[in-house]
Amino acid sequence: MAAFMEDALVEARRARDAGEVPVGCVFVHNDKVIARGGNEVNVHRNATRHAEFICIDATLAYCREKRLPARQVFSEISVVVTVEPCIMCSAALHTLAVKEIIYGCENDRFGGKTVIDVAAVVGQRINITGGVRSEEAMALLKEFYKGDNPAAPPVAKKKK
């Protein structure tokens, strides 16, 4: 399953080229990629358009098109994503009860495993594997954050 990380990295690079935070994701179902995407926050002016959400929406469209039961399809999906899903995405993936999550580098700012235990709050455990090609995923983020996010206002200086 880790072999699909290359597909996720392709999506991350695509997001970078579009001026988005370089995170990419693919959903794998029966050894086949059925949904792929990178962050689309800036283009939609919507902070929830993370790569995982692009894939969730694409999966629902896929199920509608193929007339497949979405709940069952999600339970058979391996989520392969370059960065540890944030709390929002992790909560969504736990609630949808996907089969497993495989991620690249950790997200120590708002990771859904590193910062809080999403599984405990949602009440659903799924298999999570981190550290797959994490250096490459991290390098993309570092490269991006060297420049400013063009859409974000400057960060306020901290008082005290």
Binding site: V43, R45, N46, A47, T48, M88, C89, V115, V121, A152
Partner: protein, 358 residues
């Protein structure tokens, strides 16, 4: 699934003649503060020792401050009794523990002569009510925080602000019942005017990922010429020369509110996103919304019928919402019921949370 596209809500609601609603005095607004502001204090057991002479006491205090620096929130000495360390820290005996931390022989002797166990507050006082409880156990330090006190006692809102928040709560109820079949609704408000920026509804939580709060941030995005989700809802269109935008407002809800007599004085619309890079010439105290114009939900308040789940609560963190007000607790609510996301210090943004109570 969401019912945003279902046909029954697309048919216009029966026009209702609503008389001017009296302010709902049965509603109150309570800040949902993190656990460190809880009224009940936590106590821990601590080894304490009565030291005999003043000279001994001085030496003891000096060494303890260096080698066992516990209890920053407490006075270390009270009536010649000195706090040594939590009983939970001791593995074998107190004497061995002190030796392990290289306490000198004479201080060790002075400390071990008259040891007893006391209960003291486990953490520092954030609010005066906590402080007053704590000093019954042991003298402690306290730095009053005026703003935290005002959140605690409700004096943070003026009477007119409070009245506006309650109106929004009533609006949530009537929008849900009259236009949305009792399903969750959310309202996003620019508190500067105040003006309604966006309204959204969603299916019951757990039905998919398209919850009410997720729709709401997407409708706010529409007011900034963004938005990702397809919906069959029609949105209000702007006049060409407008200086604010109604694009975050579905026609259905906007028309409903326009028909309500009680809502005639409500303002609608969002500031348009600014093009220029330069912040407008406002004073330094102004928030980022005033300085830079709309960006995601920066500076906006969000009113929700139901307490948001963890996914939605984090979506509102990402969206940089200023304050969340909710009316009903949810079993999977992540602001009060199953979790308190806004009290997680590691996050890069923190909103304030208020609950309407009856």
């Amino acid at each position: 699934m969401d019912n945003n596209g279902s046909t029954d809500i697309l048919s216009p609601p029966a026009a209702k003649k609503v008389k001017t609603q009296p302010p709902d005095d049965s509603l109150d607004i309570k800040a949902v503060l993190s656990d460190e502001y809880k009224k009940d204090i936590t106590l821990i057991q601590v080894h304490s020792s009565q030291v005999e002479t003043k000279q001994q006491l001085q030496a003891v205090i000096q060494e303890l401050a260096q080698k066992l620096p516990h209890f920053q929130h407490l006075k270390r000495v009270h009536d010649r009794s000195v706090l040594i360390c939590p009983t939970a820290d001791i593995k074998d005996t107190l004497e061995q523990h002190l030796k392990l931390h290289k306490i000198s022989d004479n201080v060790l002797e002075a400390l071990c002569r008259n040891v007893h166990v006391v209960q003291v507050p486990a953490s520092c006082a954030r609010l005066r009510v906590q402080y007053e409880q704590m000093i019954k156990y042991w003298p402690c330090k306290f730095h009053p925080d005026k703003y935290a006190e005002s959140l605690h006692n409700g004096s943070n809102f003026t009477a007119s602000q409070r009245a506006f928040h309650k109106r929004m709560a009533q609006l949530l109820r009537s929008l849900s019942l009259d236009v949305n079949g009792g399903q969750p609704v959310g309202i996003c408000v620019d508190p500067r005017n105040p003006s309604i920026v966006a309204i959204a509804a969603g299916g019951s939580s757990g039905s998919s990922h398209q919850h009410c709060a997720m729709w709401l941030v997407d409708h706010v995005a529409r007011s900034q010429r963004g938005g990702a989700w397809q919906t069959q809802l029609q949105f209000v269109e702007d006049e060409p020369s407008t200086t604010s935008t109604l694009r975050g407002l579905p026609r259905l809800y906007y028309d409903y509110l326009q028909q309500q007599e009680a809502c005639q004085d409500l303002q609608f619309g969002a500031e348009l996103p600014r093009r220029g890079e330069q912040p407008s010439a406002v004073d330094q105290q102004a928030d980022n919304l005033s300085k830079y114009g709309p960006y995601l939900c920066t500076g906006y308040d969000v009113y929700l019928l139901r307490e948001p789940c963890l996914m939605c609560a984090m979506a509102l963190v990402h969206s940089r919402v200023k304050r969340i007000f909710f009316l009903e607790q949810s079993d999977d609510g992540a602001l009060a019921t199953s979790f308190q996301l806004h009290s997680v210090k590691e996050l890069n943004h923190h909103y304030e949370v208020f609950q309407f109570t009856t």
